[in-house]
Symmetry: C2
Subunit: 570 residues, 2 copies
């Protein structure tokens, strides 16, 4: 069995990957024909002045101002001596591809030719032993080294920074270290190299009857090592946990030597290095192996939609199935607020065929929903179970009871099936809207249940205060015993004169609220360069000092991903 | 509702706590009348030469060689200025009580007057602000500071060590910081001070309808802060997790300032400080607050016994209910090996009334078991569920099916009820046997399922190679997705001439096997001083270096619990 929605045939050739947008050429959000309707929708929703959106095409790759690589023939030869001749590149396109991630901030800077710093070269190590040699070479040559997995960071984790005194930057692309090293069926664990992409992991495991169960939205273009380094969270984290909970052991190459944790399920032997490496974002070392828990492929999946009359009703349902009762065991429960429910409904209209009957169908649907108590403030939940069919039947009885208790309306499995079908597609939407002056970004945080409502409204208020030409919305997902992730998305009319200044204002507005309300600056994207000011506010003093000292011990020359997370200057 | 087996009335007055054994005066393993039968059993099992056990009474507290405190009136006055006059003691008994934990090694050293170092004084801080002042005072006066919770360390965590250049040692007893600070029923979390004992926590929570669900065997005499510092594991960890999984947030006073983690369910903001503090054993700071997940008191509990014809059968059952199927949700599953099954059965005979019918009853029981396929190698499982009654009914159907699948024999709930009744009692047994030349110690580790059998037999073999006068056995408990804890117990004829040398041999024999087979040096007791050599072997190089650098940053004067864990010299 394989998950039908996974594309196992993605071409990761750098020539084929987009340099200024999500994914590889040929993969789109929707058919070209739907774009005009999308545009029309956004004109209305963003209250575009004079009913028009500006054209904001990207510069072409040839137009980018990119200074010459600091690496000449000598460096290329030396690096080739370490990783092999075909393992080093100072080629222009390769450098561009490795100088930014996938945040709005990164992509807009590329598209407007405002990215200031480019990496000087890229290496593709194949073996752990090569990393030790690269560390030595970088320290000797005063070169910063940025570990690179799928390149999907949305928090500036790949931004090109040098520490003081460093003269160049090298990026280590780890996707040639992408093997399954060992599978222990009896103990249900698998040991992988770090550079393996999501679909490659699932293919390898599905063939043997297993799954990792980690499906972040970036799944198609991100890697295991990157997930661990940035504490990724997958869509089914309610069942399988966040990536840091899936780790049994890690092996990490640091300039001071290898750190390898024991292959044991739990320990009381000092601080937990697995949980230090998870979230270290390449500052302490390069992850070379990850041993993860694996699971039997579920016998079935059952995903369905539910409507609740208000965000509060929905949130109480989420809380109940996550911490109150016993035996709900949902793999996922994802509550959109009213605005996200409305926007997703409008977006799905964009892609539907216009027929004579469609408006009538919609009107009937609407009146049925209103009769069922689901008015204008209604919020959709997509929830799902993965497992044995008999067990899901029993679960469903309990879940339906909880739905009724909180005033919900069970909306059937077709909603869930559609969600599964498009689960990795949303990031492609941005590739289109950036062409016509619409910005789109997301941010995610987490808090306790008691604080969900306040945080939800305060973040939205802060974003909406930056510009009236914005649609901002939110969903709760990744719910836990004591709280939940809040994932905010926002689309806005781009300030074409200063898109970067505008983005900074939005980022600051939302992040200041997170700090004020004690919510984390990131639940599953990481800190990177973008979140440094707020991370430092939340970890001021001894915490930052302790981590910096640890870094100085394992990376004495300070070559590893300088300027990020706890190494950054707030 | 309250847990009926918890003694909520324990008198923790230092005058009432045993200085050379477990627990407080008046609490015993069993009635005095059972001791002769126990002795008889051990004579046989340990093959005591000439059928006799030596008398090995403890020295009396008055006989201990304890040098004068380094603290004179000046120091006592200064410390009193920080923690209040009634918060400082250099009194002899108080110093003795705070100079060792509860390991066999510690207790034997006390009983034989071989403990070399005693703390110079004890402070009882009441407020976090006092800790900062204590840090300054200790740094200025070159004094080591040992944080002390319940004093139940069995790995030398409280051993009195000085760093080079230090002239005295102060112990900070935290049991006066024992308040519930906040309870958020909606988010199901509670914030406590660190020095609250197990029964105090449950009383506080039970009164409000909640439980923490953390029940280590040391429960009655250990504290929340100690649990976190040493990564404690409770008997119901299958349901509630180990203590490090119960943490939502911690607050820690370090000499470099306070480290406080956010009250959020999950984060992607740098390494996880909760998981650095958990296991830091007082080396990085003193925990001042812990926010923990709490749960509704279970509607019911259902604990039962199962017999399996072999350890392998039992281990396969444990593995299945922990990682293979779905919906078993046992709170506990604890498999004794054949030797432990046999010994526990003999120990329970010791305490049973001898009647004319008893031998007949035993014989009938035995033949029934043999008929059911449970021969001499049979292994008992004690398993349990906590939760809604309806749910437990459904669970039980599945569990019974798994029992049959692995050749098990369901032995009923009375076994489980007895287990619950005596769950915190076993540590009291040692108080008796040490008087008649019998040593007893335990060690615990964890490994993946694939390695359980080898580790089990190799550790036992290593222990038995040290002396023929030993009974060593093991249980699997705290089982996880990929593996399990193995908990070894051993009773042995004490080498009365050199009990400490003998203990060192046993410790080394077993610990060397753990390292050789990649099992952790501790699953839930910690590293302390005793495990330092093996901890350093398993974390050599960059890992130790990184933690030492972190310590130097947050504790620049090196006052906090020197010589332990990563600060220790291997």
């Amino acid at each position: 069995m394989f998950y039908h929605e996974i594309r196992f045939d993605i071409n990761y050739d750098p020539e084929n990957l987009r340099w200024n947008g999500w994914g590889s050429e040929g993969h789109e959000w929707q058919h070209e024909a739907h774009i005009p309707a999308l545009k029309k929708l956004l004109i209305k929703e963003l209250k575009a002045p004079e009913g028009e959106l500006p054209e904001t095409p990207s510069v072409s790759i040839e137009d980018l101002n990119i200074s010459a690589s600091k690496f000449g023939d000598k460096e290329v030869k030396e690096l080739g001596g370490i990783v092999g001749k075909d393992g080093v590149s100072v080629e222009r396109r390769m450098r561009i591809l490795h100088s930014a991630g996938q945040s709005y901030y990164d992509v807009v800077r590329l598209r407007t030719n405002q990215l200031k710093a480019y990496t000087d070269g890229v290496v593709f190590p194949k073996k752990e032993a090569q990393l030790a040699k690269l560390f030595t070479w970088c320290a000797k040559n005063k070169v910063a080294l940025i570990p690179y997995g799928g390149g999907s960071s949305v928090v500036g984790g790949l931004e090109v920074h040098k520490a003081s005194g460093q003269r160049a930057v090298l990026t280590a692309n780890l996707t040639r270290m992408n093997e399954l090293l060992e599978l222990d069926e009896f103990s249900r664990i698998a040991r992988f190299q770090p550079g393996i992409y999501g679909p490659q992991i699932e293919k390898t495991l599905n063939e043997r009857g297993f799954t990792l169960g980690h499906f972040p939205q970036s799944f198609e273009y991100s890697t295991l090592g990157g997930w661990v380094a940035a504490r990724s969270g997958g869509q089914q984290s309610n069942r399988y946990g966040k990536i840091e909970e899936m780790i049994t052991a890690v092996k990490v190459a640091t300039p001071a030597g290898v750190i390898e944790t024991l292959r044991v399920p739990a320990e009381a032997a000092g601080p937990d290095w697995n949980q230090v490496i998870a979230g270290s974002e390449g500052l302490l070392g390069i992850i070379t192996e990850v041993t993860v828990k694996i699971h039997r492929l579920p016998e079935g999946r059952r995903y369905f939609g539910v409507l609740f009359p208000s965000f509060r009703n929905g949130a109480n349902f989420v809380r109940e199935v996550s911490n109150e009762g016993e035996g709900y065991d949902l793999s996922m429960v994802r509550l959109s607020d009213a605005e996200e429910t409305r926007m997703y409904s409008l977006l799905s209209e964009v892609t539907k065929k216009k027929t004579l009957l469609r408006p009538i169908k919609k009107a009937v649907q609407e009146s049925v929903l209103r009769a069922a108590g689901q008015g204008a403030g209604r919020c959709v939940v997509i929830a799902g179970m993965d497992g044995e069919v008999g067990r899901m039947n029993r679960q469903e009885i309990r879940v339906r009871k909880a739905i009724r208790k909180h005033g919900g309306f069970y909306a059937g499995e077709s909603v869930g099936k559609n969600w599964i079908k498009g689960r990795f597609n949303m990031p492609f939407l941005r590739n289109h809207v950036l062409d016509f002056g619409v910005g789109v970004d997301t941010l995610e945080t987490s808090t306790t249940y008691a604080n969900v409502e306040e945080l939800h409204s305060e973040v939205l208020k802060a974003l909406e205060a930056v510009t009236p030409h914005i649609v901002a919305f939110c969903h709760m997902s990744h719910s836990y015993h004591e709280g939940s992730c809040l994932y905010f998305s926002f689309m806005f009319l781009m300030d074409t004169k200063d898109p970067i200044g505008q983005w900074r204002k939005l980022k600051k507005a939302a992040s200041d609220v997170l700090v004020r309300l004690g919510a984390t600056i990131s639940h599953h994207h990481g800190v990177g360069a973008d979140h440094v000011p707020w991370y430092h506010k939340q970890n001021a003093g001894a915490a930052i000092g302790g981590l910096q000292a640890m870094k100085a011990a394992v990376d004495p020359a300070g070559i590893l991903n300088p300027g990020k997370v706890f190494d950054g200057k707030p």
